[in-house]
């Protein structure tokens, strides 16, 4: 009795939103081989677009690269720009003033809040709980408004610059941001309670996709995926970059090791981020100009190399920048957390049923425009038909 149905699930990684777009990329395909309802083998096929960005970064000046690297991912654009800017600042041994560091932390934590709300909404939508999806998105709009007040744009905040940030805030904006954060905190607590108590969610998520701690470090998984399995890795705690050496915060870790633990880690991190934002807004130092004069920044960079890492909403993001003394870098290497989380995790689907595969994949938080289509190959009748991942999750094949 062999397998009668083979399910191929194509998934795309990283949304490069940007000016220079090289040719079309291949989507990520998880070829899931299933015997009846149980998954027996998974193959990973990838091909994605941000590789073109590494070659592109070798041809543009250091300052143009800030805007290019900010467009590797639409959801995490502040953290990409921040990591690149910090790697360049290490090359030059520049230390920005404390006010700029606090504002950077504010922008990055706002992004973490809206990214976590987004993935929880998508998890609810994959399970079929559309009402919760709509409600979370409505409250996420308030966070986007907060980003607009701070940086000038809802999604792509071109906020980071070598030596500081590009805009400052005054008292009026600060009060508006504090009011928005109070509202979001109330709503986030309510949604977290729904995730804890609602049967629709707990029955689908608990004990699905269990990963043991030793498997996490050997397979190199990062971010909330690792923190949901009791491994306390967080680049904010490790490097203490920007203002994280002065702002108090906790690293959230859970012991249950399944998909439910990973989503709860994200809700608790949302509440932690709101606390960090409020602390940063109330304790903004005024020790120096947060906005450097962009016309007076140096154009040539000394030779050397540097390695910076940052805690993106999905895990640890690293940038390696090397320069040989010209106006353009010699090598820029970007390693995004989804790269490790998605490619190295094909072992974790084995033994679960097909309807669990989208749930497990969503709990790793692939970068958004991913979960698009799944192709079902019925080998008995030789017929291929496309179903959306949501129909797959609701068992409609």
């Amino acid at each position: 009795m062999g397998a009668t149905k083979v399910v191929e699930i194509p998934v795309t990684l990283e949304i490069p939103i940007g000016p220079q777009h090289p040719a079309l990329h291949e989507p990520l395909m998880l070829k899931v081989y299933a015997d009846g309802e149980e998954v027996v083998k998974v193959d990973v096929n990838t091909g994605y677009n941000h590789r073109g960005i590494e070659k592109l970064c070798e041809r543009n000046s250091f300052y143009r690269n800030i805007f290019i690297c900010g467009r590797v991912c639409g959801i995490c654009n502040t953290v990409h720009a921040n990591c690149y800017v910090r790697a360049v600042e290490y090359l030059m041994d520049i230390d920005p003033p404390r006010r700029a560091k606090y504002l950077r932390v504010l922008a990055m934590e706002l992004e973490r809040i809206h990214s976590h709300m987004l993935i929880n909404a998508i998890m609810a939508e994959i399970l079929g709980f559309d009402t919760l999806f709509m409600y979370i998105m409505r409250d996420r709009e308030k966070v986007m408004k907060a980003k607009e007040i701070l940086t000038g744009n809802r999604v792509l905040a071109d906020y980071m610059m070598v030596g500081g940030v590009r805009r400052d805030i005054d008292e009026v904006k600060r009060d508006r941001l504090l009011k928005i954060l109070d509202t979001v905190e109330r709503e986030a607590k309510r949604y977290m309670r729904v995730f804890e108590t609602d049967d629709t969610i707990t029955k689908r998520l608990i004990d699905v996709g269990v990963i043991k701690p030793s498997q996490i470090t050997r397979y190199g998984l990062l971010g909330p995926t690792a923190r949901g399995s009791n491994i306390k890795i967080d680049a904010r705690m490790g490097d203490r970059y920007d203002a994280y050496d002065e702002v108090p915060f906790n690293v959230v870790v859970r012991k249950e090791m399944d998909s439910w633990a990973r989503m709860m880690v994200r809700w608790e991190e949302t509440l932690e981020s709101i606390t960090i934002c409020k602390y940063a807004l109330e304790h903004l130092p005024s020790d120096g100009p947060a906005v450097p004069d962009e016309r007076r920044l140096p154009r040539k960079f000394p030779p050397g190399e540097s390695f910076a890492r940052v805690e993106a909403p999905r895990g640890e993001l690293t940038y390696y920048v090397s320069s040989v003394g010209k106006q353009i870098p010699y090598r820029v290497k970007i390693r995004t957390p989804s790269f490790n989380n998605i490619i190295n995790s094909s072992f974790s689907y084995i033994g679960y049923s097909i309807a669990d595969v989208p749930v497990i994949l969503t709990s790793y938080d692939p970068c958004i425009s991913c979960m698009e289509r799944a192709v079902v190959i019925d080998t008995e009748r030789g017929v291929r038909k496309s179903v959306s991942l949501r129909q797959l999750a609701m068992g409609e094949i």
Partner: protein, 134 residues
């Protein structure tokens, strides 16, 4: 049981106005300093071309001014034209200009069937019309 918790809100929302803003027919409130359409003020521009060099999207081209209008501070007679189809509104040109010659607005209704660029808005500043926000 989480069911009744959301259920109460669902029933309340059933009878109240939807949250969706019907965009083209209703007005959306945006911030005053949203990064919207920007163009050059030719009363200040010196034609150095830094904005065109620094644009990450290569959306700015320097073009020659019409023959009768060549102010003294602009010896090469060039002015920047921004192609809004390529522009990513990062405002690098605005911050890097040595004489602060860009006028910024928060106008964002830029979808149009033909390619928009800043030529008309920029040339109007020289004759004294236009200028300021939209």
């Amino acid at each position: 049981m989480g069911g009744p918790a959301i259920l109460k809100e669902v029933l309340q929302r059933f009878f109240s106005k939807p949250v969706t803003i019907q965009y083209p027919f209703e007005h959306v409130e945006v911030e005053k300093d949203l990064r919207g359409r920007h163009y050059t003020d030719l009363n200040k521009c010196i034609g150095c071309g830094l904005c065109a060099l620094e644009c990450p999207a290569d959306a700015i081209k320097m073009e020659k001014l019409p023959e009768d209008k060549k102010p003294k501070r602009n010896p090469r007679g060039l002015y920047p034209v921004i192609d809004y189809g390529l522009c990513v509104f990062c405002y690098r040109c605005v911050t890097v200009c040595p004489v602060n010659a860009f006028i910024v607005t928060n106008y964002y209704h830029l979808a149009s069937p033909k390619k928009p660029d800043s030529r008309d808005l920029t040339l109007k500043t020289l004759s004294g019309e236009g200028g300021g926000g939209m």
